[in-house]
Amino acid sequence: MSLKDVLSPFSAWKRTLEKPFTIKKPITEREGEDRYRGFHVNDIEKCIGCGTCEEICQNEAIDMVESYPITANKGDSGLRPQIDYGRCCWCALCVDVCPTGSLGMSNDYIWVTPNPDEWVFKPGIDEKEWKDDDKGYRRTEEAWLLDPEQEPMPVLEPEVRKNTFKEMAKGYQVTMALEEASRCLECGICIEACPTHMDIPEYIRAIRENRLEDGLKILYDTNPFSESCGRVCTARCQDVCVLGHNGEPIAIRWLKRYITDNTYEKRNEILGIGKPLPESDKKIVIIGGGPSGLTAAFYLRNYGYQITIYEKHDKLGGMLRYGIPEYRLPKEVLDREIKTILDTGVEVKYKVEVGKDVSLKELQETYDAVFISVGAQKGTEMPIEGMDTLGVLIGVDFLDRIAEGERPDLGEKVIVVGGGNTAMDVCRSSVRLGAKEVQVLYRRTEQEMPANDEEIEEAKEEGVKFEFLTSPVKISRKGDKLQVECIRMKLGEPDSSGRRRPVAIEGSNYVIEADTCVMAIGQKVDSEMAQQANIKTTRWGTFDIDPTTLQTNVKNVFAGGDCGFGPDDAIRAIADGKKAAYFINKFLTKKGEPLID
């Protein structure tokens, strides 16, 4: 032992003069760092109550609870997370996974209460000091645990598809479907948005687990047109998909198509179609073999009723066949899908037009129940001069002719008027028919266009030109060309639908020269048959029905689809068909009782 070793420890005394390392109480001046993971904050406006935070929480600290004043709404379950801080471990996985980015953590860490119940609260709703803190841990793009990008659908190149009616989208390969299916969070927010409320998370899970047969069964539980919907559905589910809030939604439609594409050969076998169904002696007639009527037929057959369909055309499918061009929905796909429905044992009378060839009154009296699903087949004409000029066509009629196999010569330049999906179908069909220049005229701007963004994008890729804020006022003919006189518009005050109303600008008229002009501005219902059986109609020409039960004023007559609610998409019609099946069954089994409580 040296003397040095005895003396050297005394050097520690010099530290007594130093400022202490500790912080004085109360600890106010020391704020948590910017990234500190303190108590949660939640932007309740952004949050949609999908419950992904609850799903990922390994400690079961999060409950989804109803939280006044938030209520359930389209794309929002109305639930908000409530966190039990006796269980929370501050790992922030809930923040990192949050699809909307509403959840975060404040940098507050000094708070205590002796009451254990106060440790369970709803961030963003219950009043806490840190409720509006913007410091603290937030999810960054790089830390996000979800994949915001959709698996791209392989499609024909614009240059190729411009010349052919061949189906444009090629369908997912196995790896793509698995990749896309694995993005799903299974929150189920989408189920509400789907008019027929398909079990979307369930069939996506079936894809992920490679149980395509189960997937097909799940599809047919709610929708016998899954194969067509997998191609042409407007996919309202995708509009509310949680992943769409900060990225691209799940390609729900393409995943549905993936199931049907890979199972159609064995479809009847998987679904047990063709096997005996329960038999009832009650007979039901369905007028119009479109998506709505065929769906009703399919489910009513499952109830055991005897079904007869009256169809005006010589083929079934309605707007799916006559309104949607081949490049989006190949006819063979539609045919095989309809065949599955008919294989349940449905009788069809083709080329019979109810109201003309046979009276509705007669049907209503001979059958136990009638379901009218004639759709909205008549194209709306514009109230302008020159609508009867040669070369002016109506959108739906035009598509009808193409569906029948006609390939009319449209000339060099085609003008399409309208901004809906029909207008897109018309303009893109025109491109395929060989028109050199196709121009779409729409009276509002691109933002207000009701057509799907995807359709607009693809039309642009195919060379379709868009002219916004313009509307034709007069059409005349000069030599072999059409003179379409247009007027410029501007956007005025919003109307009842919330879209800004277009207002004409005086004196801004100009003329476009064209070979053909197609009006695709809307459809209306042909409900002339209604009076034969004293069925009330509305002033828009649709059947006057109870919106819940689809029943008309004549008790055993139901109506749905476009002819019940006005023109809408296929999935809405399918939903109506299913609903009609349910209420017709209820009507027939519980005679006299009210259909709903």
Binding site: V65, S77, I191, E192, Y220, T222, L271, G272, K579, Y582
Partner: protein, 197 residues
Amino acid sequence: MEDILNRLDQKFYVQARYVQRPNLAFVTLKKNVAVQAITYLRDVEGFRHLVMISAVDYIEQNMFQLTYILHNYQLHSDIAVRVELDRENPVMDSLHHLWAAAQVYQREIKEMFGIDFPGSPRVDEPMILEGWDNIPPMRKEFDTKKYSEETYFPREGRASCDPVKIMEKKLYRVEAEVKYEIKRVVRDNRNKSADAN
């Protein structure tokens, strides 16, 4: 590495081998030669460091897998010896005489999996779970969630809602009823036709 495995195979017959990385190989050996093989690896091939002993429960195959990871300080490589044991009668020869560390691992495995190592010192003494009266907890059939639900009580007043169910209730009650009824009918028919086959 390959050479070592080949030599090991010649002497003890390696049932299966798998090279995970250039410096980590897994070999499956028969139970009766495992201790000899491990002694050989230690004394002849220079795998002097017993990294750990662990067990894996393959309940589906009615089997426990013991894994002995051995490390060679010269080659900086590991060989993991796997031994498959019958789940009904899990007994393995002890190697407490080779490494002092082994007895602790064996004690833990006895306690957590119920795999016996006769002769290993204090192997029957509880190590971590004093007063445990259930099946060995690391076995797959032991359900921690169930155990905790039976043993402890949850905090009162906690309940969670399913977004799907709440939206059905709040936004489309009738349509949900339609959906479930139709689904039931369709599935009944499907099941009947499947039964008929």
